[in-house]
């Protein structure tokens, strides 16, 4: 069966104003809205579209984390994923460990594609997809803005600093998604009801033979230095004078 594995992460919602805890141990997450990482939603949307075009037969959505993450898996199922895998753990999961888990699942499920967001908007690491590709010994096409599957290969347009780059890669492969790849669908109420009946398997790290190795200690969180409000000018003439005074024009 042609399967696509989509990894999603539960993160603080895009619209929440992030506050660092006064004791510097992290950011405030109590009572804060949590969502699927926006890039991962794009990854799932792309997988669903490939399935709808007949290029894949099954979309599996997976996450790693505490029990609350099942909310995001259910959202993924409501969007249209066929089944979900929850690798349940309360440990801090670094990208290397996440990639090891995904590698095990990619092999176990014999997937043709693993699609991930290009970064999670919480740690902004932008690592897991590339590490997965390294461990799996498969191609990677990161920061994708266009994906075409044909004859056992994927042609992927990537958003790079210089413009747009195109790679052609053999399948199976890892793709990470950029913002403009697609616009994820909205979930409808009947889909939420249907999602409750879809299979959701719960695994743990030990059953996959992966250890929750933590190599990076997060010693201290601090709010960023704030820029202060400057001066207001009233027209272009004054703006020009202010820039001239600073030697900027």
């Amino acid at each position: 069966m042609k399967r696509i594995l989509v990894a999603i992460k539960r993160v603080v919602d895009y619209n929440v104003r992030i506050r660092v805890k006064p004791d510097g141990t992290g950011v405030v997450t109590d009572g804060v809205k949590m969502s699927i990482n926006p890039f991962d939603e794009i990854a799932l949307e792309e997988a669903l579209r490939l399935k709808e075009k007949g290029l894949a037969e099954e979309v599996i959505v997976v996450t790693i984390g505490p029990s609350d993450c099942q909310q995001q898996l259910r959202t993924g199922l409501a969007m249209g994923a066929d089944r979900a895998i929850h690798v349940q753990t309360d440990a801090i999961i670094e990208p290397l460990v996440a990639a090891r888990v995904l590698h095990k699942l990619a092999e176990k499920e014999q997937v043709m594609l693993a699609i991930l967001g290009k970064q999670a908007i919480d740690d902004d690491a932008s690592q897991t997809g590339q590490i997965l590709a390294a461990l799996w010994g498969r191609p990677q096409a990161t920061f994708a803005s266009r994906v075409e599957i044909e004859g056992g290969t994927a042609t992927v347009t990537r958003e790079v600093d210089a413009g747009l780059e195109t790679l052609n890669v053999d399948l199976p492969a890892v793709i990470t998604t950029d913002l403009r790849l697609n616009e994820p669908r909205y979930v409808k109420l009947p889909d939420i009801m249907k999602a409750k009946k879809k299979p959701l398997d719960i695994l743990d790290l030990a059953s996959l033979g992966v250890e929750a190795l933590q190599q990076v200690q997060m010693v201290k969180f601090e709010p960023p230095a704030q820029r202060s409000r400057g001066v207001m000018v009233k027209d272009a003439q004054e703006l020009f004078a202010a820039l001239q005074k600073k030697g900027l024009v």
Partner: protein
Amino acid sequence: MSKILIIAEHDGSRLNQATAKCVTCAAAVAGAEITVAVFAADSAAVAAQAAQLAGVARVLRVDHPANAQPVAATLAPQLAALANGYTHVFGPSTTFGKDLMPRVAGLLGAPQLSDIMAVESATRFRRPMYAGNAIVTVEVAAGTQLVATVRTASFEAAGSGGNAPVEAAAVQVELPTHTRFVSVSAARSDRPDLQTAARVVSGGRALGSAENFQILYSLADRMAAAVGASRAAVDAGYAANDMQVGQTGKIISPELYLCFGISGAIQHLTGIKDARTIVAVNKDSEAPIFEIADIGLVGDLFQIAPELERLIAAAK
């Protein structure tokens, strides 16, 4: 002692300034011995430029036809093999480095720190999270080989005046054939590069169309500035993707950031907060951009931008 290996970013003939910024970051690790590795089809010209960077002890050339294009799947096994004996492996936090370095980390089984913005010691660094809304001090155990990307906006480029020896390095690894470079469609531009420009003019959705961006190009050309855009403007098709500034686009640190019709979403602000001077023109006096702008002007950008251009022209 720290031995730091930096991968050079280049276009085949010119060393990208991001590499010089990685050298400055590496030099902030006390007592570091810095090696720059240049992978190319023919690396002679780029290696010579890398050798001139102040603080570089040695330049390694890895020439191979497969290295003509910067394909991560091809470069990663070579860089991982070369990394043996180094305490740190650094690359820039550009799309080149972001693509490549985690693949290297994966092959080495090493932890990666993304977007290093400050060095506290050989094992302790600071990096942003949550779109720069939290600055986190991170630490690895002594003796851990570390891979990192360097947030280029946080470091000045290393100066010239160095004269490091250049050596050819033999790397014996099997290169994959599963990934083929097809093309790169760089938007050719005579304007300064957005990531290294001293001045940047940028626009948001309020520009209303790709045609209207001409107003900003015209002003930018008058000022010898690069042109950037907000995510909203890029999503709307008014500007190319390589012009996007912000959390998921480019992080820049120009002397002057002059933005028109950008409201100032948190994700955009994270891309510009290292700018020396931020100037905002917006018709909405409540726009969040004014909370951080050094100079603000409430008004119609379609009137102000051309007028500013005329004033600059008249003064020359």
